[in-house]
């Protein structure tokens, strides 16, 4: 599964994209797996209320299922316009 990071999430984790082998059933389970890896992931995911997630390019919630998903993206609230 491709995992993408944007804005300060990308900066904290230190890369824009990685491919992850996971059996996580939900976004939240994926987040827990990433957090357990290294300090920089823990730093990026410390406050989930400051994060947004998209599964296959649709905004969703952290309890969303990952079954069949190809791409998960984590980023801060948007600031376009």
């Amino acid at each position: 599964m491709d995992v993408l990071y944007f804005a300060w999430v990308r900066e904290r984790i230190g890369m824009p994209k990685e491919t992850v082998e996971t059996n996580a059933a939900t976004v939240m389970e994926l987040v827990e797996e990433l957090r357990a890896r290294e300090e920089r992931y823990e730093a990026a995911f410390a406050d989930l209320s400051a994060l947004r997630v998209a599964v296959d390019q649709d905004l969703t919630e952290f309890d969303a299922p990952l079954k069949g998903a190809r791409e998960v993206a984590f980023f801060p609230p948007m600031t376009g316009g």
Binding site: A54, D58, L59, P76, G80
Partner: protein, 147 residues
């Protein structure tokens, strides 16, 4: 319906003119333009906008389509830039053509409110003090409740 996500500058006036042309059954056009704002007058060196290619176009097309259906728009236009911009440069624009002014205004405000909180763009400001990601505002999320 036109949605464009691009790095290059655009010509707001030329875009508005070609958008308005040839819709003689529409009496009202509203445009909005977002401009890189230098709050502290000369302190902002530049702004860099990051986006999520693919999802951005998808999100903007969804928002534009909803506005078109809901307000019976004759046409709708969304242009949003990414990359590096200087103070005073135009970041983005929306335009809506409707039979009457009330619908054109409402549609343009809807487009902006949704674009602001639902399209994956992130702004980073570079000043003499360093670089900072622009924080989202609670009022922007709140603005969605009225639609």
């Amino acid at each position: 319906m036109t949605v464009r996500v691009q790095e290059a500058a655009f010509d707001l006036g030329a875009e508005a003119n070609s958008f308005a042309a040839g819709h003689s059954d529409m009496g009202a056009m509203v445009t909005f333009a977002g401009i890189v704002r230098d709050l502290a007058q000369g302190d902002l060196d530049r702004m860099v906008i990051e986006h999520y290619p693919g999802m951005t176009e998808r999100a903007l097309e969804k928002i534009a389509g909803e506005a078109k259906d809901r307000w019976g728009l004759g046409d709708v236009l969304v242009i949003h830039r990414y990359g590096e911009m200087a103070p005073g440069e135009q970041i983005m624009m929306v335009a809506a053509l409707a039979p009457h002014r009330k619908d054109a205004f409402e549609a343009a405000e809807f487009l902006m409110d949704y674009l602001k909180s639902r399209a994956p763009f992130w702004k980073k400001e570079f000043t003499s003090d360093g670089a900072d990601w622009v924080a989202s505002k609670a009022e922007d999320e709140d603005a969605l409740t009225r639609w």
